[in-house]
Amino acid sequence: MNQQPNQDPILKDLIASAKNSQVTRRGLLAGGGAISIAALLAACAPGKKTLSPAKDISATDKQVIWDNWPYYMDGEDGSFPTLKAFQKESGITVHYNINVDDNNTYFARIKNQLAAGSDTGADTMCLTDWMIARLINSGYVQELDYTAMPNVSANLLPSFKTTFGGSFDPGRKYSLPWKGIVAAIGYHKANYKKLTGKDAPATLEDLWNPALKGKVEVLSEMRDTLGVMMMGAGINIESFTSDDFHNTLDKFTSLVSSGQIRGIKGNSYIEDYKNGDAVAGIVWAGDLIGANIELGSDVLGVVLLDSGSTFACDNFVIPMGSPHKANAEAVIDYYFQPEVAAKLALAGVNYVTPVAGAKELVIAENPSLGNNPLMFPTDEIFATKLKQFRALTPKEDNEFSKAWSDAANGVV
């Protein structure tokens, strides 16, 4: 849809602080330069104060800016049919920006504004569970108003509120799931058969088969790759210890240095399966389902191991500095209608929807898609196979991320 309007958040802060500070002309002439530089620095420096929500101007300013990951919306070539429909229905203009490609990178970009409680340039954004936990713990995001979101109250699947939300946001007071992502084992059917003689990987150990040396590719997202590996080793990822983490990481490091695992990627990894650089590995199920649809055949296979997989959500939050909270809630609520959620699933957004009733609508249109347990996991799969990587303390977060990044970059 529309690109983000040209309003630099820092500039907006400066204008706001200039309006608030009652400086006389004489005072301005005397020490204005120093003051404005100090104001600029203050706007940039993270503070430790408790933040309060910005004034909501939704009623008069009918727009909302939404930052999201790629492949999460129908018509990403710019047509955005569901967003257009929302705009027509509500009169609220949505500036939908596909500008999140990494939780850390995105966070690094807005963290000073978040800490100052000022406008980050987006009214809502979808980020992954652990990043949401960090934002909530730091007090950077606003409490949501459920009375303004009847569809959410009616259609949010309970497991997204309890099992896959309760640990970092009890009762989903600050965040709401946008899409769920299953990490699973992906493989190129023909090449896998050629190299190993088997039809499909059945256990995690199958990936470490010497016949696949150099053809295994894993995700650069620590929680998914190590999560799946820990589950394969029988470790409960909801309560693992530091030793469990380091043992698994050692195993990972040895697999990388032996050359068994060659690729460690977070995007465009599907290409590697297509051109033969990768034959099997840990993938996000939705990506492979999408690639198969695009290729028009079942070239790629994806399996959920008996040992289980990680499940994570990308979640909406509204930062403290957002001046369009009510508009953001309106667009969130709109996507919690089963009809809209089903439209997205049918249009190629192949990730798990948290909206009850969407599955039935998709089955009616496209039974194979609607019955795909990796897109619409059954209650049994949710209960037995899918687990969420436990929340890390800030100290662990620092230590584990560093250890993971070193392992992935071959620093020993």
Binding site: T105, G263, N275, D277, N398, S401
Partner: protein
């Protein structure tokens, strides 16, 4: 100064050409000075300050406070020593390859094609033409062309250069190839501008004095083209040492090819360890400056410049 290597003008020592620097000169210099202050000095100072920060006691990720913590430098120098060595190893290898490839090309275009200006310009355009396409796109294209099922890798397999379970992408060779390819014009163009002005009468004089072609090259052509070689090697070596695209796991590299740039990227964007990333950057800058100064001194080209 090392930067003098980029210019071919002889520094004039004639005092008669010196003029008093008046307000006009200052006014003319002002935009450049202000630009340098804003966009070079400010980030540099900020970088040095950041490189001395210490982690916040809360242990929260990405939180640091102002300090004078020199241990950041020791930590990165020890932890990332293999990556630092690898960066300069790659940069050295790629610069040498670029020189070996570029010199004959530049000589051919600059000297042999002098009598045919049209062909000369056409050839020069061909050298630059690939670089009208984005650096990233070209590297991604090479990633496809060198992938495991590609014709190139199949040929290497059938020739026995690579064992059936060995592949090209993600190896040192792949990264050095990418670096050489991406930086070749920065070598070819300075060499060309130098060789284009080579006085061929000196070569004729050499052969009149019974020097064989090898001697003419080593005694006449090579010394005369030293300024071009120095500019070319500096223009390739410096950016290659800091490159992080070719060696990236998303392009031609793997976990085993990380360079300094890879570590800066990881520390800055992934681990939010700004002091470590800054210390690494300052270190890279210092090492390059030292190497370049040594190189320009050693090669004795100061008199030539």
């Amino acid at each position: 100064m090392a930067f003098a290597a980029f210019s071919n003008d002889k520094p004039t020592k004639d005092s008669s050409t010196k003029r008093k620097s008046g307000p006009v000169v200052l006014a003319l210099l002002a935009p450049g000075l202000i630009y340098l202050m804003l966009f070079f000095m400010t980030p540099l100072i900020s970088l040095v300050i950041t490189s001395l920060e210490s982690p916040d006691p809360s242990g929260a990720i990405g939180s640091y406070f102002n300090d004078v913590n020199f241990s950041n430098y020791a930590t990165v120098a020890v932890d990332y020593l293999p990556q630092i060595m690898r960066s300069f190893g790659y940069a050295f290898a790629a610069t040498v390859f670029a020189l070996i490839i570029s010199y004959p090309v530049a000589y051919f275009i600059g000297v042999k094609l002098r009598s045919r200006p049209l062909t000369q310009r056409l050839m020069l355009t061909l050298v630059i033409a690939p670089f009208f396409i984005s650096f990233l796109l070209r590297t991604i294209a090479w990633k496809q062309l060198l992938s495991d099922d590609s014709g190139f890798v199949n040929i290497l397999h059938s020739m026995g250069v690579l064992a059936p379970t060995q592949f090209f992408l993600g190896t040192d060779a792949a990264v050095i190839f990418g670096l050489t390819y991406n930086f070749i014009p920065f070598m070819t163009l300075p060499l060309f501008t130098n060789l284009e002005r080579l006085d061929v009468r000196l070569l004729e004089a050499g052969s009149d004095l019974y020097a064989n072609p090898r001697h003419i090259f080593t005694r006449v052509t090579l010394p005369l083209s030293m300024p071009g070689i120095i500019s070319g090697t500096l223009l390739t070596f410096i950016p290659i040492a800091g490159d992080y695209v070719n060696a990236s796991r998303d392009f031609l590299g793997s976990s085993k090819t990380s360079m300094i740039g890879t570590m800066v990227e990881a520390d800055y964007l992934q681990n939010l360890n700004y002091p470590s990333a800054s210390a690494m950057s300052v270190l890279l800058m210092g090492v390059i400056l030292a190497l370049v100064t040594l190189y320009v001194r050693r090669s004795g080209t100061e008199d030539l410049l």
